[in-house]
Structures are given as C-alpha cells and as structure tokens.
Amino acid sequence: MRTVAVVGTSLAGLRSAQELRAQGFDGRLVMIGAEPPYDRPPLSKNFLLGKVSADDLALAGQDDLDAEWRLGVRAEKLGRDGVTLEDGTTIVADGYVIATGAVARTLGAARCLKGVHTLRTLDDAVSLKRELAAGPGPVVVIGAGFIGAEVASACRLLGHDVTVIEATPVPLASVVGPEMGTVCAGLHAASDVRLIAGVPVAGFAGTDRVTGVRLADGREIPADLVVAGVGARPVTEWLTGSGLAVDDGVLVDSGCVTANPRVIAVGDVARYHCLLRGGRVRAEHWTAACEQAGVAVANLLAGSTVTHFARHGYFWSDQYGRRLQFAGVATEDVRIAEGDVASKRFVATYHRGEALTGVFAIDSARPFTKLRRAL
C-alpha cells in the first residue's frame, strides 16, 4: 500500500493517521478535511465558559505525521478513480479512511431565524459564545441529551435564565436508563434550570429573530437565544455512487472495514457491527473514535479484517460542576455500588443476572474506573 487518503480530519481521522504511522505505514499519507483537527468535547463546556481558547483545542501529534494536508476542501465523491475534492482535484490512493464525522441536526423551521444555534463545530461555538456575551436574555435549550445539558449548564454558569425542553419524558433514559436519567434530570433543577420534559417543540415565535419556542401543548417559552441539541447526522452524501453501503452511517463490519477491504470507516460516521451488543451501532463518542482507529487501520494494512473492535462504550459529561461518566450498557437492574444518589456523588452499576453490564457515576472517577475495568 503506497498511498492512503484519510477523508475527514476529525479526531477519528487524525487518530487513524497516527495509527497508520505507528503501525508502520511509511507511504504517502493525504489528509483531506474541511476543518483542521481539533478536540470537540470542550466546545460545549470550558470553551463556552471561556476557560479554554481555540488554541487549546489543538490535538497533539499533527506535525509528526509527515502527511500532505488538503484542508479547507470537502471531499465530493469517492469513485473507482479516487476521491474527488470540491476544488476539482482527485486523489488516487490504495487505501481510504472515511472519517467525515457527523453534522448537527437542525430544526427545519428555525433555520432562517436569528438567534437559533446548533453546537457541533468550533465556528458554532464561537458564534454561540459571542451571542451569549451580548446579553443576559433567556436561553432555551432544545434537547436534554449530553450536548443540551452541557450547554444549559454553561449558559446557567454564565448567568442566563435557562429552560431545557426535552421531547421524551426522561432525559438520557435511552442511554443511562430511566432511573439514572431521572437523577440527571434533577441536576438541572438543582441549578435553577427549568426542565420541561415529555413535550415536543411545535415551532418558533419571531419574524427576524427568535423570541420564543412554542410547545406542542400550546405553551410558548420566551427566548432570546435557542440552542438545538437534537443529535447529529453522519456525513455520507459524498459517498453516493461509491458502491459503499450507507444507512445512517457507513456500514462496516466489526473491524470497521466496508465491503471493500481497501476502505475503512471510523468514528461518528461509521455504523459498525458491534460484537458486544449485537447488531449495528454508531458510537458518537470521543473514546470510540480513538479506539476504532487502531483496529480499522490494522485491518486496512492487513487487507482484511484480522482484528475486531469490541470495546464497551464510554463517555463522560461535565454538567453544573459535576462530572458524569458512563460505560457499558444500561439494564433495568440498577444498584448503587458506592455513595448515595441524594448527595449526587455515587457509582451505580447495571446488571443482567449476575453479570455486570454497565457503570454510571457522578463525581466518583476512581471507583468508576475500577468498575469500568471489570466490565
């Protein structure tokens, strides 16, 4: 293999490039991306709070890659003759890494209203931060998932009046289960953030700029600023006609390899066959992006799937000055292993029969780590 093109300079793309070099690939390495690599998790936390700058988000190791960087251009097409960029150039490679990530889902009706934001990229965060600094107006966050909760937390710490609207009855229940989801919901109230759960958003008020959010039950919540944290969509449009199977992500096997062994997909864009859970999943998490890269690259260099990605999902979130960590799979059998829920400092474990399936912790990193290793 003489040339490898990494499409997408996200964390997953950068880690793949690092793994290529670490695993002995000494050929031509082309890095194609709309944006330079940076670390995304702080955007909804310390970046909004002004505790870290854009410079602090740089990911280590970019300079050591001996790579050819094609930044500021998107890939338009992947075909037999290579990957074609929007500037018309085509890069012919022997191996391709698809790491184009995902983009924030938007709420259609709000797209043309000023004051309605999503948060995914550095540009999004810069623009949101600038608007937050402009005034203390009421903020409505749509979606009480991790991004929504983190943004709500940051806005509250910045002194805004914040309301969070969540369509499902219990935030995060699909991830951490209803019991722990209820605990997470309580974090909002404890910091004087209103949570309206179980009510979908029906629309927006305002002509030029948003003035409120209309709920399905007829209420209208005043808003000077709206942040929609309603999930992300994998970036796969450019693969139309590539012959690769795409269905809510690039379909890959348990080694992150597509039906074409010269093409691998990693990170948010990859929908892989999960050996631990059965079925296909996308793992939109920082740690998965890092861990998948090593597996996928080993398979690319080997020419077939010789190693499999079989790690339990892990993610963390910082909200209202507390650190939440979760690993594994949530089941209905939840036990408190350490601490107590009332003090919001505890470790909960999830079980199936006698088997440990998952761990959730608030402000308890040390026991969490021990239990995570027992998964």
């Binding site: 690092q18 990911l59 960590q325 990193a365 040390r366 969490f368 780590t369």
Partner: protein, 105 residues
C-alpha cells in the same frame, strides 16, 4: 516539605491528593512513592483518581498515561508532562517536597 500521610495510609496501587494552590498527588506504585502535579495536562481531571499500573498512572477521563518517575505521558491525548516532586519517607511518614518541583523536558 509537606507531610502527605503515614506509609500505612497509602497501600500500593493507591494515590492521595494533597490540596494546595496547585494540587499535588502522591502515588504508591511498584514499591516506590512518587509525587506529581495532580491535574492531567490534557483536560481537567485528577490523576489521583486514575488507574495505577506498573510505574504509570492513567488519567480517569481520557486514558492518557503518565510515567510516575518522570511525569512524561507515553500516549495521547496528553501532550505535556506533569511536574514531579521529590518524595522522602522517614519514620514511616511520607513527605513531598512541593517547593522543589522538577520541570521535565
């Protein structure tokens, strides 16, 4: 030098955070005692909460590993080393010389 704790209070594989203007932690690993700045250089996390194995501590948040002897990370995502401090054990008590911080290369 500041008193960290008695030897009996820090079994092997454990760490203790010493609160101060800059938190420093003392680690007991592989039969030795080591003191490092407690905060991971990648993102805000306490290394005293990390996983101690061989002569390394793994950050509890993102799994960056630091060599307890030198403070140097041996893998990403951390880019920079944490500072290390001399540790002295006398009469069953562990002391850390927090004023003699050693900047690493």
């Amino acid at each position: 030098m500041i008193r960290a704790c008695s030897v009996s209070e820090l079994p092997e594989g454990e760490a203790l955070r010493l609160e101060g203007p800059v938190p420093v932690s003392v680690f007991h690993a592989e039969g030795g005692y080591y003191a490092l700045d407690d905060t991971c250089t990648h993102q805000d996390a306490s290394l005293a909460d990390g996983w101690i194995e061989d002569c390394f501590v793994e950050c509890p948040l993102h799994a960056a590993r630091f060599d307890l002897r030198t403070g140097v990370p041996d893998c990403l995502p951390a880019k920079n080393a944490v500072r290390t401090y001399p540790v002295v054990v006398a009469d069953g008590v562990i002391y850390v010389d927090t004023r003699a911080q050693r900047d690493v290369a």
